[in-house]
Symmetry: C2
Subunit: 196 residues, 2 copies
Amino acid sequence: MTRAGVTPERLVRAGVELADEVGFDGVTVSALARRFDVKVPSLYSHVRNSQDLKTRITLYALEELADRSAAALAGRAGRDALIALGTVYRDYAHAHPGRYAAARMRLDPRTAATSAGPRHSQLMRAILLGYRLDSTDQVHAVRLIGSTFHGYISLELAGGFDHSDPGPQESWERIMDALDALLRNWPTRQPPEGPS
Amino acid sequence: MTRAGVTPERLVRAGVELADEVGFDGVTVSALARRFDVKVPSLYSHVRNSQDLKTRITLYALEELADRSAAALAGRAGRDALIALGTVYRDYAHAHPGRYAAARMRLDPRTAATSAGPRHSQLMRAILLGYRLDSTDQVHAVRLIGSTFHGYISLELAGGFDHSDPGPQESWERIMDALDALLRNWPTRQPPEGPS
DNA sequence: CCCGTTTCCTAAACCTACTATGCATCAGCC
DNA sequence: GGCTGATGCATAGTAGGTTTAGGAAACGGG
């Protein structure tokens, strides 16, 4: 009975790859045990339960995505920064759909606080430095950008743009343009009536 | 052995309610059988399998949401229409999170084509009649609006805005303002540099 | 009233999560 | 080199999910 060499770290790594192959929901203790050629209960020495496993995968994905975001944002501001961050998210979701799904899983507040989540908020906020928004508008703008990024990626991955004409890449670029224009010209309050 | 009176329609209705109570993922044939006080295999006379059940729930939710959207859009245009549609989506997601999740499930192309999905596209496009966009920009604008709506609702439901200050209602209103401003002033192409 | 259809059942095969428990192996110490 | 304790992995078993096969009982039309 030679040992398979299971460790929590290797489990998470394998879980991350499994997620990209079969989807985050397909990450089960059983599937992971098969991958290690080990019986299911053996994994419970290394991971508390299925939830714990998924949480670790989520934390891994959040870190990885935050690292890539930080790298992409270095030295960029305004429109460049906006597009760079959006592209990192979108590329990550395409290359690693399981990890992207994992990164969206809700964490309990205590775990979330020590995750890379706050780093993501920081980075998102950094984009706005290139645009002149007062501090209360910044929160709203961050939420708008986050919503649009996530919404677009989510719909695109779900195949929502598959059967209509302009490719998703073109729409993405136009939407980045639109967001940039919006941030440069953020409406002060209830905008006036009539044409511009 | 008095009959329980299970029909596909009643199953879907119950499944829809169950989804709102325990989440769309919690809709299982077993849970539904318990709700009807009937043994699990009995349901397989009325529904092909678990996937079929979920598809039917999705179709129901898509219809219902399209009906509400159409009602809300009647007689409205431009900014009013934009906010009305967004509010319908968001209110629906809050009141019926399970149905909203169901409505986002991917359908196979054949089923999708006969679903209320196309109606949703139509309604979304109708909003843009109040704004002057050329037809290629319309597709991009529809995708932007859809992404932002879905992204915001998704993040809000996932608790993403729970632990920071301005309430989600305020951000939502400001984002509707921003979208309206953007649509009234849609950037023609790569926008010029420099301040506005 | 009786027969066919429908509705629901039991039984059983197979998946996943998880717990309890036990044995084998490895590291370190004498 | 052999003992000892911690660790790695296994077997066994509970519990709940999906699904198929086949059978009995209720309902409804002739």
